[in-house]
Amino acid sequence: MSGFSDVKKIFGGGTTSTARQAGILLSLVAIVLVFQFWTNGLTLTPGNLIAVVNQYSYILILAIGMVMVIIAGHIDLSVGSVAAFTGIIVAKAMADFNLPWPLAIVLGLVVGALIGAWQGFWVAYVGVPAFIVTLAGMLIFRGGNQYIGAATAVPVPEGFTAIGAGYLPEIGPDTGYNNLTLVLGFLAVVALAWREWRARRTQAEMGSETAPVWVSIARVVIIGAVVLYAAFLFAGGRVGTSFPVSGLILVALVIAYSFLTRNTIIGRHIYAVGGNSHAAELSGVKSKRVNFFVMMNMSILAGLAGMIFIARAGASGGQDGNGWELDAIAAAFIGGTAVAGGVGTVIGAIIGGLVMAFLNNGLQLVGAGADLVQIVKGLVLLLAVAIDVYNRSQGRFSIIGIFRPKRRSGPSDQTPTPTTGTPDTAKPGAVTVNN
């Protein structure tokens, strides 16, 4: 039994939220594998993977902001409209005023920030519920997009398309692969191993229990192998393609925001406000500022997503960003974010978003229509959250438990008996979500 909890730790890390992520990660792997067989190997091909990244990077970027908004106890329905509104302004600025594209990107971020400040003002300082503010925003900025664009598509110039449809350049010897992508893959594995080593070292210094060494090694080897495999796939596509630039932007944002939410003061304050805003205020947290920040941050990311989208599409149009808010919200919830706020992680939301992305993609590959895709996506959202709610009501986390041969009723069977000297295997956080 203790061996089993060690196996869980390979992905679980030990804390509650990572255990939840481990479950959703397993579902993601399962979905990818199912479609890999169903499509006779079409899912994990270079071309398809690159397409998935290109198609979903902007949704995943939205999911980053959305999970923070939801953790703080709000919601943002306006992201699709804000993305479209920013897109049209940026496209117009380049088309009509010949604004150079790097400046246009800055302009887009500024527009996002201004919209965010507008919405943040109503939410944080006037106290209008974010649901209402952003419902209004959804209408206002959709209308704004159509007013400015006059219902026509506005094309964007060549250089700008790099952020949505660009790839890493081909440099170095001809290996048959995109060399930069391979290098990035290797660097990622090194970083992974280094992080694992450092985490073990700090744990040892803290005197807190560390998982057995083989758990760490297994984790690095398994995740490293997946990363390298992906790197070779991305690098091995059509010449001229590689890991997309939009994907790189996404990865950079995921790393930055994971750090922000986990390790910084403002990150802690977001969780505090979402968990119990009265207690947070009595602890000196300026909750208005926190609320303003998450709303503003969301709109900046929405602006960025909008720009990546028009860069990929080559033009800005009146229907851009329709329904994105729902995908972003679904990603956050599938990724284990609590509906009432206070609980969630960036990485969880990303995994949740990837579940949606691969479902969508796989169903399209097997020839399912848009109608069916929507039905399946709806059911998956419902199921994922239902499982989570059920597990929480049972005081445990047990995607793995489902596969166990025998389930005694009640959480007591979740108490592993430590056999290896250290009491760490009995660490409750690894198996419950009841907090």
């Binding site: 009265h278 602890s283 000196g284 947290v285 007591s412 409750p428 009841n434």
Partner: protein
């Protein structure tokens, strides 16, 4: 007493949470028409045992047997235990503040036909039920508009409506003042006369001594003994010996105060009620605190003690009207909580669940949450320091938990209180304001907390203690201010302070000379 039939027997109950064995092999037997008390330290497993009994933890999630009225019962949920006449009133009140008394009493149990509620009938019955618990309030009053004492009585009225045979009360008087507590205890005794047995959990041992017929003592999830109060000489010391395994020499640690000069002063503090602006909750109040001094604030519930403390602590209550705060001779501005914290103030709230803690958080994060800057470089929080600091507090305050990575929601009530204390000690305040710091805390831990308060004072800090327990205030404080209806009525030194005199100043504006 002994010859009465046993109506409830819990046999060899074992309940495990992941990593924690909350109960192991606990047995208790309750006789018909008795008041059975359960005593034990914080985290001993009292609440857990009652949750097992009332179906909060359903059959199958624990081991052991529950025999009720000579039959084995297996409750699936609270509803099924209520159907059998077992009603639990939880440690935290479960009334809905925005609904009226009537609506709360009949919530989930509405009288009427075909889904249509018969309000006339409901109100009639509500009045009768309220009369049985000695309340004469209008049943249309909203719950949020009546005090906690009355809310507790409404809970009991609600239980009576369910045709209760066995009433479980988990720390019912923790949030009540002495009058309200006494009223509640009388009521429990009265119910006993009508054949309703009660199980009562309380850390106020004097109450237990007063009304219990028998006492089961639990320590570390095990039954230690059952005492027959009516049959023998059971007193508080005897109970304490059972709870902590040794006798406690005195209730307060020894201390020689070293009091310095005045370093904190509040002048003419005037604050409006946040909604009803004509009402002043603090009327021109002035007081001082000296270095190394423990100052007590005595007053009845609703006298405005919490309001005074919170409004000083960064204006976190009411609308500021007038007044000045001086620290070390200089006037300081405390416009928001972070300014107050920066000026070395700390406020430990009386309401830890809704104002003291984020229940979604783990222990280590909670401990450092009021002064994250102290363990951060730039904006980045140092996990390592966080863990080691939290662990130090775990050891020094003896917080009962396997690790500081545990969520605070999994701690017992008393241990949560220690986490809140740790959180504010970590801010290293010059003036620590403690609002009902020992509410829900066991005798042993109380002694420890008094020790901590005295230590802080010995370091030259000022401490303000707000408490509804007069013996606690008198035992702990160097000086006591009495507050009545938003005014400071009197000031007593520890030598002068006596319960009757304090009580007089807490219930009228009469001056000390008249009171004495």
């Amino acid at each position: 007493m002994v010859d009465r039939p046993v109506i409830l027997e819990m046999r060899s109950i074992t309940k495990e949470f992941p990593g924690v064995k909350a109960l192991s092999d606990v047995s208790i037997a309750v006789r018909a028409g008795e008041v059975h008390a359960i005593c034990g330290e914080n985290g001993a497993g009292k609440s857990t045992l009652m949750k097992v009994l009332s179906g909060v933890y359903p059959f199958g999630t624990y081991e052991g047997q529950i025999v009720y009225q000579a039959e084995e019962v297996r409750f699936r949920d609270i509803r099924s235990s209520e159907a059998a006449g077992i009603v639990i009133i939880h440690q935290e009140l479960a009334l809905i503040p925005e609904l009226s008394i009537t609506e709360n009493i009949f919530l989930g149990n509405e009288p009427g036909r075909g889904g249509v509620i018969n309000w006339k009938e409901a109100k009639k019955r509500a009045v009768q039920l309220l009369a049985r618990v000695g309340l004469r309030d209008d049943p249309d009053t909203l719950i949020k508009d009546i005090g906690v004492g009355k809310q507790q009585l409404v809970e009991i009225a609600k239980a009576l409506n369910k045709d209760v045979k066995l009433l479980i009360l988990d720390e019912p008087t923790a949030a009540l003042n002495e009058n309200d507590s006494q009223h509640l205890l009388d009521l429990i005794v009265g119910l006993k006369g009508k054949g309703i047995a009660s199980i009562m959990i309380s850390h106020k041992l004097n109450e237990i001594e007063q009304i219990a017929d028998s006492i089961t003592i639990i320590r570390d999830g095990k039954t230690i003994e059952t005492l027959d109060v009516r049959g023998g000489d059971v007193n508080e010391d005897r109970i304490i010996r059972g709870m902590v395994g040794r006798s406690l020499q005195s209730r307060f640690p020894d201390r020689t105060p070293h009091i310095g000069e005045v370093f904190f002063e509040v002048r003419n503090w005037t604050v409006q009620h946040p909604l009803v602006t004509e009402r002043l909750v603090c009327k021109n109040e002035s007081f001082t605190v000296r270095k190394g001094e423990i100052v007590g604030f005595a007053g009845l519930m609703g006298a405005g003690r919490t309001e005074l403390a919170m409004s000083i602590f960064g204006r976190s209550y009411g609308n500021f009207v007038d007044g000045q705060v001086f620290k070390d001779g200089k006037e300081i501005q405390l416009r928001n909580v972070s300014e107050a914290i920066d000026h070395g103030l700390a406020y430990v709230s009386e309401d830890r669940k809704s104002l003291g803690l984020n229940l979604l958080d783990d222990i280590k994060r909670s401990v450092v949450s009021a002064k994250l800057g102290k363990i951060s470089r730039g904006q980045v929080v140092d996990d390592f320091k966080e863990h080691s600091i939290a662990d130090e507090y775990r050891k020094s305050l003896r917080i009962k938990t396997p690790t500081v990575d545990e969520g605070v929601s999994k701690l017992s009530g008393g241990n949560q209180q220690k986490v809140v204390l740790a959180k504010w000690m970590f801010t290293d305040p010059d003036l620590l304001i403690l609002d009902e710091p020992t509410r829900g805390i066991d005798v042993g831990a109380k002694f420890e907390i008094y020790g901590i308060i005295q230590q802080l004072a010995a370091q030259g800090k000022g401490v303000i203690v707000i408490s509804s327990e007069l013996p606690e205030l008198i035992g702990l404080s160097d000086r006591i201010y009495t507050i009545f209806e938003g005014q400071i009525t009197n000031e007593f030194t520890s030598a002068e302070a006596e319960p009757e005199m304090l009580m007089k100043s807490m219930t009228s504006t009469s001056k000390k000379a008249e009171a004495a």
